[in-house]
Symmetry: C2
């Protein structure tokens, strides 16, 4: 049974704080191991990659076979199921269209003093995309990471994906091709992250590394941060459904289970003002669990972290949702738009009963890489801006320098930075 | 003497790689100490802050005196020099105008299938600003951090600044008031970072922490990352000047020294195609050093990390500048605009001889918080977007679900996520 809370009870605040503070992941202490792997990759390059891949992935490579060839990618694509490939193409097209609209505009203007100001955006020169191997190798995630990079205009997109026992997921390779990935290497783990950050004889370094991974990959990303940029460190996924009596309980139950099947550490939450809906959803979850292939995972997630919060009115849902700051927020109430407009913190909002979160995972067009574990309070889902950076531009002539110079000199002096002041004064024939 | 390189020599590439790889900062291993401080602040709240402040800042506080009162801030402002205050006001006005233009637009659209898509930006609910104490307490940095937060619409901006021996820099407090900081606490160090991230009895937690600090502050920011957002971890500052024979060597020397006076680990670089300019700049640096108050710092920085790179043509400067990815890039050549347009990696570009970097530090209007240590390859200077986050929005009706559903089902099944597929199918009367 999920956790049950009600805002009508005296202990609600204390129990809600407990719910927010629940540790859903045991953080493995792997940073020393990862540090040693990093040192090896930096010192021995390709050979370290080859050694680790033999050990961890039971796969013998040479510098020449690190890279997955275009022929292998074409062959993998050819063996994919046609219906799935078609779905992948639809997803790619829709993701591309959505992200095209995120391309930022440069700005350049002249102010009243005649100072020229502005900024311009440029694409990151090379980005690396980590794709987990095995069952967590999701072709949809390849699209979600690589297409915004392509839209941003990154000239070089490099993917790494482990091939345990030599096996690669053909759909992952098909997605890489579809998205325009430039290079694919069959390596994974911390060693792949260090190879992307520092480069080896075969792999040129990138400037930023994206993509999810296990504890080793996450630790490696933390360690290379600074040498390269990284995206967020993703935690277990979560969904919050806010629903009223107009919602279909079976549909909500299906959405809660879709979240729960990801991981035993995933979290599915329901806030409702309708007690009978709450009961119906809980019953439907139990009945749908009976026929779910991943019932063990989904059931554990629901039992351990699932929660149903009963509110006296939907007004109460707004501040609670902001404190939860869910990665995915479904709003299935009579006036969803109005409620949605009042929410500050959410990674993505899915409006109305006909927008299950799974549509957003695959073919909605918006990005499914979203801030987890309450980080929607301060961060955004993946987008084109994550693959670009902004350079500011400033240009004064003699008149502008004369106008602004005295203030700059005053502040430089006030901060005890005489050379700052002098660098202005010397141009005004004052220094 | 600075390092001298020339692209005409055979060993140039090797020596340039060495220059890029130079370690300018010894990274102090303080993470264990910082971890212990964090545990204390989380466990004991205000009392831990009071204890650490007594120990590190020789200052006795109570929960009631942690916060700097509005009266203290007004009194501090009143004792500031009028000319400096006026300069600070000009800076604030210009920074505000520049950043107003960065406010992002929401997007909402309906695609050909009738799917409603889009995203909206919201301000981060509360941000913390760390301001170092002592000589590194720069009022200009308070403006550069707090004004974009205000422009973004953050409803709560909290500043922490240590007061060693009880002393606060009046200009820092004046800048806080001018920028619209809502709360100021006289605490610093790792303890202040943990207080902002986790909250205490007196200090409510924030969602993101910005601002520079020493090794302890940087380590604390790394440790609270995830619980809250953080800005970049700033490294020592650097400037790259690209100049041709039209440039004034004394002006360039002044700019190189303005950078060098920040820190012995700062770096000042010159790339020029004019050998006699190079010699004249080097001579002028020496002569200007003689009369500089911070000559010891600037001289050490210039000797240890300064470099002059002679190129055969300015075309060669472009890829070198991109590899250096300087925080500050001054371009003082005949056609600066054209050269500037070819640069991909720089935090900020200062165009022409009359735009010393110090103008940008104070009163240009653009932000002076910029990516250091080559991180302009993958990140941007501080801006309004750093204080906002984006929520994506998706809305399907029954028709759109019918159109997109089959592809979502196919991909869910291909990824082994049956509950994902079912959450779509159940709404199509298929599941």
């Amino acid at each position: 049974m999920p956790i049950r809370l009600s805002t009508a009870t005296a202990d609600f605040e204390a129990r809600f704080v407990e719910l927010l503070a629940m540790k859903r992941e045991v953080s493995e202490e792997v940073s020393q191991t990862v540090k040693a792997i990093g040192a090896e990759v930096i010192a021995r390059g390709d050979q370290a990659l080859i050694d680790y891949t033999a050990r961890f992935d039971r796969l013998t490579l040479t510098p020449a076979t690190l890279r997955v060839t275009p022929e292998e990618i074409a062959a993998a694509t050819a063996q994919c199921d046609a219906r799935t490939l078609e779905a992948l193409r639809l997803a790619a097209t829709r993701i591309r269209s959505y992200h095209e609209r995120q391309k930022p505009k440069d700005d350049r203007f002249v102010d009243a003093l005649g100072v020229e100001l502005g900024y311009r955006w440029t694409a990151i020169e090379a980005v690396g995309l980590y794709v987990p191997g095995g069952t967590a190798a999701y072709p949809s995630s390849v699209l979600m990471n690589a297409i915004p990079a392509k839209v941003a205009g990154c000239p070089r997109i490099v993917m790494v994906v482990p091939a345990p026992g030599g096996i690669l997921n053909p759909l992952v390779l098909a997605a890489a091709e579809l998205a325009g990935v430039d290079e694919v290497y069959r390596i994974g783990g911390a060693q792949a992250v260090f190879a992307l950050a520092h480069g080896t004889e075969t792999i040129r370094p990138v400037a930023k590394i994206m993509g999810p991974g296990n504890a080793y990959v996450a630790a490696a990303k933390r360690q290379v941060f600074g040498t390269v940029g990284i995206d967020m460190i993703a935690g277990p996924s979560e969904v919050l459904v806010i629903a009223d009596g107009t919602a279909n309980p079976d549909w909500i139950a299906a959405d809660l289970l879709a979240q729960a099947e990801h991981d035993v550490a995933a979290q599915s939450l329901l806030i409702t003002d309708d007690a009978s809906l709450a009961e119906a959803v809980i019953a439907s979850v139990e009945s749908q669990l009976a026929t779910l292939p991943r019932a063990d995972i989904a059931g554990a997630s629901w039992r351990d972290f699932g929660a149903v919060i009963q509110v006296r009115s939907l007004d109460e849902a707004v501040p609670l949702a902001d404190r939860i700051a869910a990665e995915h927020l479904e709003i299935i109430v009579e006036d969803g738009e109005a409620l949605s407009a009042r929410i500050r913190n959410a990674g993505a909002i899915f409006l109305g009963g006909h927008t299950p979160e799974a549509i957003g995972d695959y073919v909605g067009g918006s990005n499914h890489v979203l801030p987890t574990a309450r980080s929607a309070r301060f961060s955004s889902g993946l987008g084109v801006l994550d693959f670009m950076k902004r350079t500011s531009i400033l240009k004064c002539g003699p008149d502008q320098l004369r106008a602004l110079g005295p203030a700059a000199i005053a502040l430089g002096e006030a901060e005890g930075l005489a050379a700052h002041a002098r660098s202005v004064a010397i141009r005004m024939n004052l220094g």
